[in-house]
């Protein structure tokens, strides 16, 4: 069975799996942003938390993905459905680039700019929203970009625990020793990663701050 005929015959299933893949990656990255960006901001305000938070995110990152799925399996509610498990695991992996880039983005804002802002009477909240976040936006977007590309790849492994997504075709193809089936899962996943990388890269450039010098 060649690749093209497999794709045309199974286009509906491939499309469904692609959407499933997108859903898992999209939701997990979104959740990671909701947790990771505030965490990154928090550690710029409370420097004593910087080391433990980064260390925790680092440790999560070193756990092999299959093992992480296994660890989370006994968790209540989460463990009941493979899809929830996959989303949680991918979210945990995405935390490190988001926390780190938010922290780096904010702390690398020009000191004189921050001091002038504080000296003129901006509240901490105004400083964050009007100065720090806009100037850190491109670095934070770079973190989202890394998180997204990693998640799209990792999500294929989530099929091993039955979470669906394009990994299902890859695992099936491996079991059948059929390259066409593997490619039908791998190519859309790769295309998705490339697309995400391009779009986020473009956004990153758009938000890059004007240089002062």
């Amino acid at each position: 069975m060649n690749f093209l005929s497999f794709v045309t015959r199974n286009r509906l299933e491939i499309a469904t799996l692609t959407l499933e893949h997108l859903w898992i990656v999209g939701l997990s990255t979104l959740l990671a942003m909701v947790v990771g960006i505030p965490a990154g901001i928090l550690i710029t305000r409370k420097p004593s938390l910087h080391k433990p938070v980064i260390a925790a995110a680092n440790i999560i990152q070193t756990v092999p993905s299959l093992a992480l799925f296994g660890f989370l399996l006994p968790a209540p509610w989460i463990g009941e459905r493979a899809e929830r498990l996959a989303i949680l695991a991918l979210m945990l992996y995405a935390l490190l680039p988001l926390i780190r880039n938010t922290y780096v983005g904010i702390t690398s804002v020009d000191r004189a700019t921050v001091e002038a802002a504080r000296g003129m009477g901006l509240t901490d909240w105004q400083l964050l929203c009007k100065v720090e976040l806009p100037l850190a936006a491109s670095v934070i977007l770079a973190g989202i970009r890394v998180a997204l590309v990693i998640s799209i790849g990792l999500a294929t492994i989530a099929a091993a625990i039955g979470a669906g997504g394009l990994g299902e075709l890859i695992f099936r193809g491996l079991a059948m020793v059929n390259n066409a089936v593997i490619l039908a899962g791998a190519i859309p996943a790769a295309a998705m990663a490339l697309l995400a990388d391009t779009v986020l890269g473009w956004l990153e450039k758009r938000f890059a701050p004007q240089r002062t010098a």
Partner: protein
């Protein structure tokens, strides 16, 4: 000089240090037993070499730093009794690195404090135009970004931003320090005439004796966190105090060396 709020209490000092000390958390003293008063409408220059504590003294006034002991009053009220945000909006602040927001146009930079104080749009726009005129910048510059300006223009925008909400007090930390000598002389001249028009109370930090003599109503010399002398420019030049003499001589020597070749 009409209707400045500080005129009401013209005899009381606008800013008053009484035995103020500032000690770092590790115990290193930066300012020791500092006492002086700034009169309404004067330009008081804090002169001193790097590390003398002059910038620290300035930051105590708008509470970017908190003094350790003593008493520091702004318009008769201890800075501790001021809400820090309110205090800072009451005091204009201009620094050497300017610190313009790179993602804001010149107009938005100048209008920063008016916008967070929710001025109506028309009033803000009129104020921006007025300030641009005041600091000698063309109107077209309003829509540019800081990186498109020259150093002198950026510094002018910095001064305009500090003046935006018409604060009665101005703190200036070597605002002209990074400029070439010609531009610096221009800005000093313009600043003096601006000050004569507006009658602000100014604390001006510099290490440059010439600048201090040109701008200062009075000059306070700081050395290693202590006030060495406080006098008018003329008195400063003829002071018998050894540290003052040393400072004056150092500048005289460097001037002679510059003239020689």
């Amino acid at each position: 000089m009409m209707s400045e709020p500080s005129d009401m209490a013209s005899s009381a000092p606008t800013v008053e240090f009484s035995n103020v000390s500032f000690v770092l958390p590790d115990g290193r003293p930066i300012l020791q037993d500092l006492s002086f008063a700034v009169q309404p409408g004067e330009i008081l220059v804090l002169l001193g070499r790097s590390g003398s504590g002059k910038t620290t003294a300035l930051k105590l006034i708008n509470r970017l730093l908190e003094f350790s002991t003593g008493q520091l009053r702004v318009e008769g009220r201890s800075t501790n009794d001021w809400n820090p945000i309110e205090l800072r909006r009451h005091i204009g602040y201009a620094i050497q690195d300017v610190g313009l927001f790179p993602h804001y146009t010149v107009a938005r930079n100048i209008a920063l404090v008016p916008s967070i104080e929710n001025w109506p749009k028309q009033k803000t726009e009129a104020r921006v135009e007025e300030l641009l005129r005041l600091v000698g910048l063309p109107r077209e510059i309003a829509s540019r970004y800081p990186h498109q300006l020259s150093g002198g223009q950026r510094q002018r925008v910095g001064v305009a931003r500090a003046l935006a909400a018409d604060p009665p007090i101005l703190l200036m930390d070597e605002p002209f320090g990074a400029l070439d000598p010609l531009t610096r002389a221009d800005l000093q001249r313009e600043f003096l005439s601006l000050q004569q028009q507006l009658g602000k109370t100014v604390l001006f930090v510099t290490h440059d004796l010439h600048e201090a003599l040109r701008l200062g109503t009075r000059i306070a010399l700081l050395e290693a966190g202590r006030l060495i002398s406080l006098s008018s420019g003329e008195e400063f030049l003829s002071s018998p105090e050894p540290l003052v003499k040393k400072y004056v001589e150092a500048f005289a020597t460097s001037d002679r060396q510059r003239e020689k070749p």
